[in-house]
Amino acid sequence: MKILVCISNVPDTTTKINFSADNKDLVTAGIQYIINPYDEIALTRALELTEASGGSVTVLNVGDPSTDPTIRKALAIGATDAVRINAAPRDAYFVAKQIASHAATGNYDLILTGRESIDYNGSQVAAMVGELLNIPSVSICKSLTVDGTNATLEREIEGGKEVITAPLPLVVSATEGMAEPRIPNMRGIMSARTKPLNVIEPVAVPQLTAIAGYDKPQSRSQVNLVDADKVDDLVNLLHTKAKVI
């Protein structure tokens, strides 16, 4: 089985986010970048599948050379090889077009993504790639098994889950539960250095969206502490002041 795992390079989950004075750009200085946590789940599931039935796992990132350490980490976790499409990601459509253009000639049985990238929280790429390649896609899956040329998935829905079957090739976006992310071991880290990382140039894509600016949520005013013996007061405040009950 030939699997493509799309990984995005995102600020570490503990990072404090700051913007330039005009609120137009993210201040990247001092930010530690990691593989998007959901993409690590997808990558691990891809490795489990190929370990069980053979095949290869290619990781793909759309990014400039600064994302190479993140790609090397994916190789250290166990991916066979990597592709970097050499362009700063402009928006999800741009990224999906790059992925689809690479995948169109790659003969992949499965294309895996994360449910969303934790920077712009789009959850757009997977279904866009499916549409661009005219193949099925299933978003936000907590399990994925493959039997021959068919996959079975569990997808989250409001208040429950859906069990779906779909033929390969297929695009799947992964969420919590599909696999437990792996930590690279020493051997993985050593071998990652010599695994192929192919850099290819992007295709042209029309621009449909742009970030006009950023803003930060207002911080909450000081917490109103209620005595543990006066729980009735809390209920009153929630009713009369917060008006939520």
Partner: protein, 325 residues
Amino acid sequence: MSVLVYCEHAGGKFKKSTFEVVSYAAEIASMQGTSLTALSIGDVSNDELAILGKYGASKVLTVSNDRLKQFVNMAYGAVIADAAKSVQANVVVLSSSFSGKGLAPRIAVKLEAGLVDGAIALPDLSAGFKVRKTAFSGKAFADVEVTSAVKVISLIPNSYKVVEKAQSATVEAFNPAIDEKSFAAMVKEIVQASDKISLPEAELVVSAGRGLKGPENWGMVEELAGLLGAATACSKPVSDSHWRPHSEHVGQTGISISPNLYIAIGISGAIQHLAGVSSSKTIVVINKDPEAPFFKAADYGIVGDAFEVVPKLIEAIKKFKNTHG
């Protein structure tokens, strides 16, 4: 120019999040001086369809086709894009529900439209077309400028108020061409977690963390949630330890919610947890450690042992309900 809104339903009944998107789309139509068409797919009675008029739709298109009984994003995406073309929509609105997330990108690609997924407010039309959404897992907002002629917006549940209008809608059948190829993915089974309130749409949420020590102690959490008519949620370590299902895990790597009230019991308030809940309108924290970081992100707090405070809170809510009906 017109606005099209796709209306999700569950078993033939529209959901509250559907009335939210219809109200939202109706306001965009009025900002643009155009009209709103609503689209429904699957078996919904005419009476139920007509309800959409009350929230601002002037026309309701209904697609009733045996092939479309169950949601398949590829097929539904094609139908919605078709409808958008037939009413010459320049804005398409839908809910950022679990299904909406797999659907909106397909519609956007079909229409070569810019997509804002997870909008939290009306577009700003003063200069161009800008839509606000959360970014960096709730740590910031981004204003996305959509430059394409057609725009697709998916709206976060619970972020726009339902607005009723004294209006009625005409109902018309819509018969799109159906491509058999788009049904390659098939729903085999739907497992609903009984009558529980769905977390992403819940107005009130009671959540608990590792402070509760073990799954056997969730009885009081469920009782409190039941009394309030709230959904239940948990922190990541709780679902990682299988004390609670993964579908309850909120935060940066779980789901993001913005209920009116979020009660956090025995949760420390790590930045990754806050990422998923910080847009809640009111936050109440119950924690025995006065230094717990969550108190800095809370509106109301009780410093105390959950095993004493929560039962008292349950009694207080019962008393409140008795006096307030």
